[in-house]
Symmetry: C2
Subunit: 340 residues, 2 copies
């Protein structure tokens, strides 16, 4: 005997009590046909009485399926990843999957590879990379399908599904254009940590929008997503009288920057326009209400998970990658024409 403590009741115990075979108990719990209604109720009664629950580990060992999906994320403390994770969990539950999370923290030496290894030992049917990471490490070898939300990751897997990567791209371009259209000569950028694909993508699109209109491209400043970093970088920008428009890679940094600008006596949007990204719930309620980009993480999660589970259910008939979700620019009062 391996375990001295009392184990939960097994299907065999239920079978014994119900006067049937273990196999019949299995049939009942898997809703297989060919079971009399009468035996079914008898088995269920016995199971109820013993408090029986099927043992997922045994099932997984036998079938190779875990009904579990691993998610690798980069610290879900921020609003974007966090809301995405919640949406994923909700969608997964609906598809009868559980979610197991592995974060890779910035301050944590053990990188993505450790997180992935962890998931694989636990047993997952697939892995979702919520942020295609580019640590510059050697590609990670994985033996389950991988779904990546965004750009292509450096992963070697039997199958790599990918949600269309339009993500921030189009929207960041649009925000920049919006500011230029208001009359700003150029737009400054507070970027996110370059380790994040979303940060790189937004910066790239900003850059593109500027060069497309022959606007000068100022040096981008790099924050860490926190309002504090936005505040600090905002103080730098506040010193430069040429700065009239700022696009921050997320709302938190945008609000931090506005704080710094106010402190320096510069009006928003009178003197400087500021736009963010994410449309956090607070964005509409800060002063001034923030122009930003609304990302439909719920839809992204829903589509991505549906895509993935469809593939898992039938690898031969993979549906087309779902259409990119919509990003909408939300113009509020933090952006306006430059001072004359």
């Amino acid at each position: 005997m391996v375990d001295a403590g009392k184990r939960p009741p097994s299907g065999t115990a239920v079978a014994l009590l119900a006067g049937v075979s273990q196999k019949t108990v299995s049939r009942v719990f898997n809703n297989e046909p060919s079971v009399t209604e009468e035996t079914r109720t008898r088995v269920l009664a016995a199971a109820q009485q013993l408090g029986y629950r099927p043992n997922g580990a045994a099932r997984a060992l036998l079938t190779g399926r875990h009904d579990r999906i691993g998610v690798v994320s980069l610290s879900t403390a921020h609003y974007g990843p966090s809301s995405l994770l919640v949406a994923l969990e909700r969608a997964a539950r609906r598809a009868n999957y559980s979610l197991i999370v592995a974060n890779s923290f910035d301050d944590d030496a053990s990188g993505i590879k450790a997180a992935v290894d962890n998931l694989l030992v636990q047993g997952v049917d697939a892995i979702i990379l919520s942020e295609p990471i580019d640590d510059g490490e050697a590609p990670i070898t994985v033996d389950v399908p991988v779904l990546t939300l965004g750009g292509a990751p450096s992963v070697q897997a039997p199958t790599v599904l990918s949600m269309p990567a339009a993500e921030g791209g189009a929207a960041a371009t649009e925000v920049t254009r919006h500011l230029l259209a208001l009359g700003h000569r150029t737009v400054h950028h507070i970027a996110g940590p370059q380790r994040w694909w979303a940060a790189r993508e937004r910066q790239r699109s900003w850059h593109e929008a500027l060069t497309a209109t022959n606007a000068a491209v100022p040096q981008a400043l790099t924050g860490d997503w926190t309002p504090r970093s936005g505040y600090e970088l905002g103080r730098e920008l506040a010193r430069d009288p040429d700065v009239t428009a700022i696009f921050a890679a997320n709302d938190d940094m945008a609000i931090g920057a506005i704080h710094a600008l106010h402190e320096a006596g510069r009006q928003v949007p009178g003197d400087v326009s500021v736009a963010g990204f994410d449309d956090i719930p607070l964005a509409a309620h800060v002063t001034p209400p923030l122009t930003t980009v609304s990302t439909d993480n719920a839809e992204l999660a829903e589509n991505g998970l549906h895509y993935l589970t469809a593939f898992l259910a039938d690898p031969d008939h993979v549906p087309a990658a779902p259409q990119t979700h919509q990003h909408r620019i939300i113009v509020r009062n933090s952006t306006g024409p430059p001072p004359t």
Copy 2:
């Protein structure tokens, strides 16, 4: 044969390649003594070559341990629960546990019970109730230890550990006292959804602080944690000229309320003082910077998880419940004396 697809390599395959027995492979991967350095390296080389990873399901089936902890939460979209979850995952990883999350959404009929069942079928060594829920349902029967962060849940389990429930209590009292000390006759309250223990606890403490000083106890308004609900309730409060101080159960609602007050032409803190709860990173950067309560979720998670894993490792020598974490009231500019 059950599964037609190719399965990942097993320990037996590694053993075959390394010219040892499966048991020796097991020994190597569990760092058992009594293995020659030479065989160890040979086994590891073979494992590396085949891309072998131990099968967690098989191990769990045999040993009854999963190295996995389930977390039941009420929608981790909000800052409090979300940051707590991240901290839990970090602490769990350090203790060599994985985290598996099950949310119970407000708009979701399947309640806590479904979430817990889910976790138990998946297989977990323990369950953490990050919010002791009181759905008024019959107590849930669980066959693994339960750790609850906060008040006692209606759960029947072999062991129920509980982190000291001082949580919001003392701090909410302190905030209310702070406002009274500034000279306010009473303090209005925007509460959170009553399904959440934290919401009830904060409301209770607010109530207590008022009655303790014989202040009038206004009817509490109940929001849903979102800034929007704070805004809407704030509009109601803004109409009442007697309202000079508001304590909102979280920062988001506080900021929403400030928005409504500003819109109604009432100055904060000149006309009305507003305090929040959580000390979200944005709290210091909104206008005006928010007086709030800083909760050390990282410490709570760390202590709670350590407490739990210590118990799992040796149920006979349970350490004392860790000391309640510190809550600090952070006074910023959103609170001040009432208008004269």
